[in-house]
Symmetry: C2
């Protein structure tokens, strides 16, 4: 019983009877997917069938907790998410607001390999907010990104992050770009005694992903960006589990948008950009910052940061990484909001003058350090 | 110019000026992701930057067509979808309502390997609706699924489909189940002169997927079910491209729900469950049928079927596969609605009496054939 994992859903329903009926329907839909009368007695009915643990009113809707056996998930994160919300995600008025994996499931899921402490150790930044300038735009050649990256390291970047739109375009194929940028980051680190980590953006056809991961590692990448909305959370888990590869994972929210935009469907912000990322093994979770162009509220951003860092969460606490809307002028506010354990992305504003990106990064470093 | 692919977005905006401004923002967001003034002149500004082709009023909102260079997508479907809707999916009031790949992009994307004609040939059903009973529930052993599958073949099933919830659970690990069911389907086909195809549900950790695909093929699977919401559309494309594997792909909508539920976000139904599946190389696209428990409208279902089968669409026309709400009593209505070129899923209703599943399938066959 205590071994079952628990998913909390917010259900729209006119009364408790309907809410309870919807919760029972979710418990069936996510597991046996047959009418209750047809569920075989014994193991299937007693263990595999989802079980409604609680239905209570909550702010004009209903909070339903459904428990599932770890056997339904077969020990891996893709099927775990399929049980959490595979088919029910297609029904109106059901939103996942919490996932508690329980001890048995937690033991078979991947864990963040590095977490906050591990990333801080790798980039030798024991305290203070972390800075991650972004290499872009797509269409420029590897030498351009290498030059930008060198400036970022000189300026004091902790992570040199590629834009999630850099794939394997003709002007900068994945391998040529990764090699060029990794080399220059290593050189600048050696020259300056810094420890900036270069995170290329994982891309390629499905059957190239394995080779591209190993290529990135061997070229000297210090981590990797994965878009789970496009590549699946299984890809995050696959990297997190791999002690040989030993690569930190930064997840990016591209192609995940619809999951949070409608208030009565999908996942709440903290669950998707915090809890789920951590359950899949991410070390850093990128999400759209309040005040940027994506309209996330301050409350949603705080919920994400809390889910990323909650000591009681799955595995090591991880770094929330608000993207967009960051500037020297906002540095104090952002530190007040997120505290020090965050990776602040620095995007388009830096690239107004690419030749002075080192100064721009250094100013941000000083601003974050209260200078 | 004619080589650019075109994405149609429905934008919420108060007036044409705002709509145009939003369209320009999408064109930047999906490509260079930097302010217009910072976009390097030449190739990046002229080719890589998205281009607003048209903004027109449409039913209380705005229809914006943005064109992109195939260079942005680097020749593969994951990055193609990232350009179509990666970051803009996170903004309120933007819905993708059409994707026209254009000749150059279409030439580099995968294509459905079999399509309607190919699937009909494989299961020797030149005309009439196709029947696909579903093996479930999770928690039963391989022998149970094998017995069900045998009954399905005897009854005249065209495709014996696994439930999308069957993964690699303790009671029926992927390989043991696939082997047992494939063997019995081959035996029953041989005995009865039928040509039923067995479609197992692809599952496993990311680094097991390749081996599981080959295992399924060698065990005798006639196709494979993929959940692109969980495994990514790149996995669909990877299978579609593989002439050696030569496996039909049936895509399942699990974990894609939020993309269509909110009317002003995500994708419209036809684009997600028709156009996108076809662009990724699916041969059969499963979606929730009208009148079932998912609330899709008849119009949405027709839009999906049309996008799957439109002769002018990408590659071969593919089979729409409405799931849920199918019964002998509804067979005539369903044929009237979808025509013959559809795969009708038969789920929970069949399993009320698992020992007579052959009769149930045979009755459905007769009903579809107007008997």
């Amino acid at each position: 019983m205590s071994d079952r994992f628990r998913v909390t859903y917010r259900l729209q329903a006119v009364d408790e009877a309907e809410a309870r009926s919807r919760a029972e329907a979710v418990a069936r839909e996510q597991t046996v997917e047959i009418p209750r009368a047809a569920v075989p007695a014994g193991y299937v009915a007693d263990v595999m069938l989802g079980r409604v643990e609680q239905v209570t009113p909550e702010g004009g809707a209903w909070r339903a907790v459904v428990s599932y056996s770890p056997d339904t998930a077969g020990g891996e994160v893709t099927q775990f998410l399929n049980v959490v919300f595979g088919n029910s995600s297609i029904q109106q008025g059901i939103r996942v607001t919490g996932i508690a994996p329980g001890a048995a499931m937690a033991a078979t899921l991947p864990r963040p390999r590095f977490g906050i402490a591990g990333i801080r150790r790798l980039c030798a930044r024991p305290r203070g907010g972390l800075i991650a300038p972004v290499l872009k735009p797509m269409g420029m050649p590897p030498e351009y990104f290498a030059r930008l990256a060198a400036g970022c390291v000189r300026g004091g970047a902790d992570i040199v992050k590629e834009d999630h739109g850099l794939a394997s375009q003709p002007a900068a194929p994945f391998r040529a770009r990764v090699r060029a940028v990794a080399d220059v980051v290593a050189e600048e680190n050696a020259r300056s005694g810094r420890h900036a980590l270069y995170f290329p953006n994982l891309s390629g056809r499905a059957d190239e992903i394995e080779d591209n991961l190993h290529f990135a590692r061997e070229a000297g990448a210090g981590g990797i960006i994965v878009m789970p909305g496009l590549f699946g959370f299984g890809t995050v888990a696959r990297i997190a589990r791999d002690a040989g590869l030993n690569l930190p994972v930064m997840t990016h929210p591209a192609f995940l948008g619809a999951w949070v935009l409608a208030p009565d469907n999908g996942f709440d912000h903290g669950t998707l950009f915090g809890t789920v990322q951590r359950l899949a093994g991410a070390d850093i979770s990128v999400f759209p910052n309040v005040g940027g162009r994506f309209g996330f509220s301050a409350a949603a951003c705080r919920q994400i940061a809390d889910a990323c860092r909650a000591p009681a969460g799955h595995g090591k606490p991880i770094l929330p990484s608000p993207g967009g809307g960051m500037s020297v002028e906002r540095a104090a506010d952002m530190t007040a909001m997120y505290g020090e354990d965050a990776v602040f992305l620095l995007g388009g504003s830096l690239l107004a003058d690419p030749d002075r990106i080192d100064d721009a990064v250094a100013r941000m470093r000083a601003a974050l350090d209260g200078g």
